[in-house]
Structure formats: C-alpha cells, structure tokens
C-alpha cells in the first residue's frame, strides 16, 4: 500500500538522479556559448540543471501538501499484487530472451502466464503460445526479412 506522498518523493528523487547523471555526462563537453553559438554541452547542461531544480520543487510541493497526499492511497494492495504478478513474468521473459532468444522466451512466457496467471486450460495456453510464436516467426523472418533475437535453439535448427 503506497500513498501518494511516498510515490511523489520517490519519483522526484529518480528524476533528480537522472538530472545528476546528465550533469555528470556534460563534464567533458563544452557547455558555453562560443562565437559560433551554443556548444555541444550547452543544452544538456542546462536541461540537467532544470530537471534537478524541477524535481526538487515537485518534492517541495509534495511536502507542503503532505497532509492531504499521505492520505491518498495510489496503489492498493490487491491492485499492486496484480501488477507485480503481471510484470514479473515480463521481466523473466526479457531476461530469458537475452540468452535463449526472443522466440523461445516468448513461447515460454505466453505458456506460463496464460496457464498459471490466467488460469486457462493447458490446451488454450499451448495453442496461443505456439500459434503466436509461429506467426511472429513467419511474418518477421520470412515475409519482412527482419531478424529477431535468436538463441542456440534456432542456430541448431539452422534457422538463425
């Protein structure tokens, strides 16, 4: 159960961090306005500063409104749980895709979520998983010659 105040603080902190990293990235660039106009780092430097300032102000505004904001619940336990149950398999799919390739990861993900999160029968899950993967393969690899990420399995089958 997350209240709005915590979330506001958290995201403002994140934006502040992004700004700080951006600022760090402009260290080796010229950030001034030379005779021929702004240099490479001119805009990145200022945008980073503006981001940090805006993030600080957002946090300050949230702090001034803290009474109201800490009452407002933004993510309920139930909804939050559903989001996590949905998002974690996606994370798993991306992780698996890095070394097994996108096709295998996709089939496993579809099979798993439709069967276990969605509680559909095995037949449906298997059908959708294989069907979507096969259609994706045909459309991308065969019709449009756009190669997707492949792993050892595709190479073994001579498809990669």
């Amino acid at each position: 159960m997350l209240n709005r105040l915590q979330l506001e603080y958290g995201f403002a902190g994140l934006v502040f961090l992004v700004g700080a990293i951006g600022l760090r990235g402009t260290v080796e660039l010229e950030t001034g306005w030379a005779a021929d106009g702004p240099q490479a780092g001119f805009f990145p430097y200022r945008v980073s500063l503006i981001l940090m300032a805006a993030a600080a102000l957002v946090a300050f505004q949230a702090w001034r409104n803290r009474a109201a904001l800490s009452q407002a619940v933004v993510v309920e336990a139930e909804g939050g749980g559903r989001v996590l149950r949905f998002a974690l398999p996606v994370l798993g799919m991306v992780l698996v895709a890095q070394w097994l390739g996108l096709y295998l990861a996709m089939a496993l993900y579809l099979l798993g979520t439709i069967r276990f999160t969605g509680k559909r029968p095995w037949g449906t899950a298997l059908g959708v998983a294989l069907g979507v993967t096969a259609i994706t393969f045909v459309v991308f690899e065969k019709w449009f010659a756009v190669p997707l990420l492949k792993g050892p399995l595709e190479v073994m089958l001579g498809l990669g």
Binding site: G25, A40, V58, F86, Y109, I114, R120, V128, F144, V146
Partner: protein
Amino acid sequence: MLSNLDALMHGFSVALTAHHLMLMMAGVLLGVLVGVLPGLGAPNGVTLLLPLTFTMDPVSAIILLTSLYWGALFGGSTTSILFNIPGEPSSVATTFDGYPMARQGRASEALTLAFLSAGIGAMVGIVVITLLSSAVASFALRFGPPEYFAVYFLAFASFIAFGGGAPLKTIVSLGLGFGFGMMGMDTVSGSMRLTFDIPELIRGISFLVVVIGLFGLGELLLTIEEGPEFKGANGRLDPRAMLRALVSLPRYWVAVLRGSAVGVWMGITPGGPTAASFMSYGLARRMSRNGARFGQGEPEGVIAPETADHSAGTSAMLPMLALGIPGSATSAVMLGGLMIWGLNPGPMLFTEQRDFVWGMIASMYLGNVIGVVLALATVPLFAAMLSVSFSVIGPIIVTVCLVGAYTVAGAPFDLWLALVFGAAGFLMKKLDYPLAPLVLAMVIGDKAEDAFRQSMLLSNGSLGVLWSNPLVGTLSTLAVLFLLWPVMAALLGRHRTSRAMKLAQAENRA
C-alpha cells in the same frame, strides 16, 4: 492551374488500369498489416517490396510503394485506439482520445472517425499538391536552418502552451524528453553526448522504444491494476455506431479543416507527420469548444491528429519528388528506390517524367479511397480482438510490444529500456505527469537543436537570424506568442482562471 488539371487527367489515364488497381489493393493491405504491428512500419514494408520493383516500370513501382505507405498510416491508428500502442510514430497523438473512447465502449466509433477523417486529410493534401505543385517546390526551397528551427519551435509551442497539466510536472516531462533525445552523436560537433562510453548508447535512445514502453506497457500495467479484465471495452462490432460516426463527421468540419491545414503546412515545410499530429492536437484542444473534454474520449481529439497526420504524409511527397527532401524514413527509402529505377528527384522530374509524377499523384487519390474502404473493412476484425479475455490478449500485447521494441534497432538492450519506460509510464500516469510533452520533446528536440545551432553557425552566434526575413520572422514571432499564451491568458482573465484552477485541483485531489 488548369494545366495541372489536364496533367492530372493524363495521370488518371495512366493510373486507372486493372494492373495498377491490383497493385494499390495489395500495397494498401500489406501497409495495413505493417502499420498494425508496432515492430514493423512503412519503412520495413517499402524495403521488403523494393527488390520486387526493380523489374517493374517506375510508375507501377511507385504506385505499389506509396499505396503501402497509405495503408501503414491507416493501420497505425488501429492499435493506438484499441490498445494504446501506436503502430506508427505518427499515430501517438491518436492514442490521447482514441484509447479513452475505446475504453468507454466506443471503439467502432473511434476507428470509423479516425479512418474517415484521415481519408479527408489525405484528400486535402493531394488536392494541394495537384493545384500548387510548381509553387510548393520553390516555397520549400526557402527553408534554411533558421526557418526549420522556427517551424519546430512553432509546432512545439502550439502543443505545449495549449496543453493541460501541472506546469512543474510538464517541465519535468519535457526535460526528460529533451535529455533522452540528446543522447548519441551530436551532428553539429560530431562528439558523443551523454553516452557514458556505453556502446549501447551510441545510437541514442529511440523514441519508438520509449513510446512502446510508456504507452504500451505502461497502459497495460494500469489496466491490470484497475481490474483483471478490460473495463467497459465493448468488443462487439456495432454497424450502427459506425453509421453514427459517419453521420456525425460533418459536425466536426472545423476540426477537419484545421487539422488538414496544419498537416499540409507541416508536410510541405517539412516538419513531418508526427510533429503535425501533435501540433494539430494542441491547437484543437485550445480552439475547440470541447477543449476541456480532450483526453477523456473526445471525438475531436481523434479527428485533429488523424487529419493532420495524413495530410502531412501525402503533401510531403511533393518536396520529396521535387527537391529530394525525405520527410520521413519511408520517403528516404523511396528516394533510394527512385535512384535504382533510374530517376533522379529534382525539378526536372516534373517536366521529363510526366507519366511517372502525375500517374503517382492520380494514384494517391485512388489509393487513399481504397485505404479508407479497406481500413473500415478491417474494423470488425480488430474490434473482435477486444472481446478476447484479457488473460489471453494481455500477454499477447506484451509480446507484440517487446518484439516491436527489439526490431527498432535489433538490440537486446532495447528490451530492457522498454521495461524501464513501461514502469516509468505507470508511475508517471499515477502521479499525473503528462506523457505527451516527453514524446514530443524527443521527436523534435534534437532536430530543433541541430537547426538552431546551424543557424547560429550561419549568423556567427546572433539570435537576430530568427527575425532576418519576413518568413522566419513571422514564424518565430508566432511561436513566441503561442508560448507566452498561458501567461497572457492568465494576466487577462486572472480571476476566472484561478477559480477554475482551484476547482481542477480539488478535482484532482479527490
């Protein structure tokens, strides 16, 4: 102008053959397919067909390729409206009101309106090309770096100034967009910026990956949090809703005209279809009587970006042929095709290759009519997808999003980026950060910066170059006025607005 009409008639005699009509149908259908899939776009479709065209005569070849482009423009709107995933970059703005309409069970209506208004926008663009073909080319030549900057600035100002949202959070959103857009190699200095020596960042962050994350995955997370099923999405095809939409269209003639005008302007200058759709949406929200309802499923919010998108897409064909300026990735590939067919884009094309140029223009009329009809015919098919249970369609959308993110650059790293931006999209929506400014800043931010710094190189660092001739001066002044609009409005009607703001804030808190 009369000679242009003669030429057009000649063009129709070239384009109106059974063979060419077949090519148009095939092109549009294939285009709708690549447009619907977020990972594939018109550029993929055109490169796929390019080798086939080597053996065709150039007129048939360009008819096939341009028809595919129109199909892709139509198809791109479908997933924007149904799933909040823009199939094409230029249909991002269509999600703003199209998706809420679909959520309210008005998917058929939204799709019908989108396709019809897009078709009208395209027609306006083609009519302008037909009548003004010679004038437009010389007008486009007047655009140097300062003019380009002013065009981007104007598009930017008209969207931002007339947008809603808390000012501070809009600034954060803009800053993030500009920052992400700057990553990668800087055109003007040739140095790597904000890449932190990470090879994956050399190409910068693609705005398509960001959009897929923020809009596609982020929206899925929001849907999931609210409930396990699509709320209120009515999957049944409703022919009466389609008819109602058709009948209601004349009521929105102002929005249609405004959107077309913005689109033609951005197509010729050429700011591009994506920027055009944003600008048109921003202007419509400011000027429409229903402006307050924008973002909550207002039909005008679908019509405005769609007309602009398509009229920009069609009218941009003219600078492409007459000057060789590619307004988009798709037309860049088509330009490559022209060279392979043995044609050189340039003013001479219009006098030496009349069959080719006017055959193509005539085919644009026919291709867009076919596009509207075929796109409408696919509405039932796509609307039926909404009636599939979320526990099945949800994961499928996830895979479509991730495949799309991967194909942008063929980089596994982009899968992680899409996830990060998915999470960010969820949080930003929760905290009322507007997402559109981020996307717009990414789309035109780095182009605007390049144009600005090129202008400064030309003028030895003097800002006066932005007011150095009537054209650029008018554009810059308008942009500044637009940007200051909220301030002026506040000064003029301080009392009224502050009360409205308080009300709105109270509403937000509740």
